[in-house]
Amino acid sequence: MTGIRLSVPETATRGEVVEIKALIRHPMESGFRRGSRGEVIERDIITRFECDLNGALVFASDFHPAIAANPLITFHMRATESGELTFRWTDQNAEVWSDTASITVA
């Protein structure tokens, strides 16, 4: 049920810096909200995001409860080689969601 959206250019010239965006559907429940009876709603957040190209880390981020729901992350990559970008989200219970996108570098 988790939706993932990726924005990756299909092609790039060698040395060009490209913008990459990754969006995932997740409530990022902060643990600070209370329900209608005053009960604490338990924290449930994604804690780590990683992006690698052909296995080499490009960018990573540690998320804490103040990252908004349905977290969006926009970062950059210098296009060095063609290959597969792997996007990985890990939550506080070590559950992992991932997706991939290809990029061709000429």
Partner: protein, 155 residues
């Protein structure tokens, strides 16, 4: 009718106690506590290494539509080469329940030290970003955003 003097005293006591509570809630003590949390979080991350202001630009809307989701961009002036790059950018809040919002880990492959996301802000405050370079030096920047209450607060 015979209880009247007793009731008056109790009411006065209640009003004073209530007024005192209001004073404490509105006092700068709460704000100072949150600021102290931010300083502690910075110390946990970077020890007592000096942090210089500059090279880091934090971009937030001047007025947030809603504190639940505020678009943030942080960029650091850096060539992002193998020898000179930004290792980490920490995003900190002086007012949220937790001072650390996120840490962005960059590599020379990042190419450009610019990251955007959406953050939660519990009230008007200046969000701070501290960038750690590969040589260990630390730079910071910040920007204040006004966060207001929604019109029809559904409590």
């Amino acid at each position: 009718m015979g209880n009247k003097p007793l009731f008056q005293t109790t009411r006065r006591q209640l009003l004073t106690a209530g007024g005192g509570a209001l004073l404490i809630a509105a006092s700068p003590l709460k704000a100072l506590a949150a600021e102290a949390d931010l300083l502690r979080a910075r110390a946990d991350l970077f020890g007592d290494r000096p942090i210089r202001e500059g090279r880091v630009t934090v971009t937030l809307p001047p007025i947030a539509e809603n504190g639940h989701s505020v678009p943030l961009t942080v960029s650091v002036d850096s060539p992002m080469t193998e020898d000179d790059y930004v290792k980490q950018i920490a995003i900190l809040s002086p007012r949220n329940p937790l001072p650390l919002i996120a840490q962005f880990h960059l590599t020379p492959l990042s190419g450009k030290a610019e990251v955007s996301s959406r953050i939660r802000m519990s009230g008007t405050q200046a969000i701070q970003a501290v960038a750690e370079m590969n040589d260990g030096s630390l730079w910071s920047g910040s920007m204040e955003t006004v966060v207001t209450l929604a019109a029809c607060v559904v409590l």
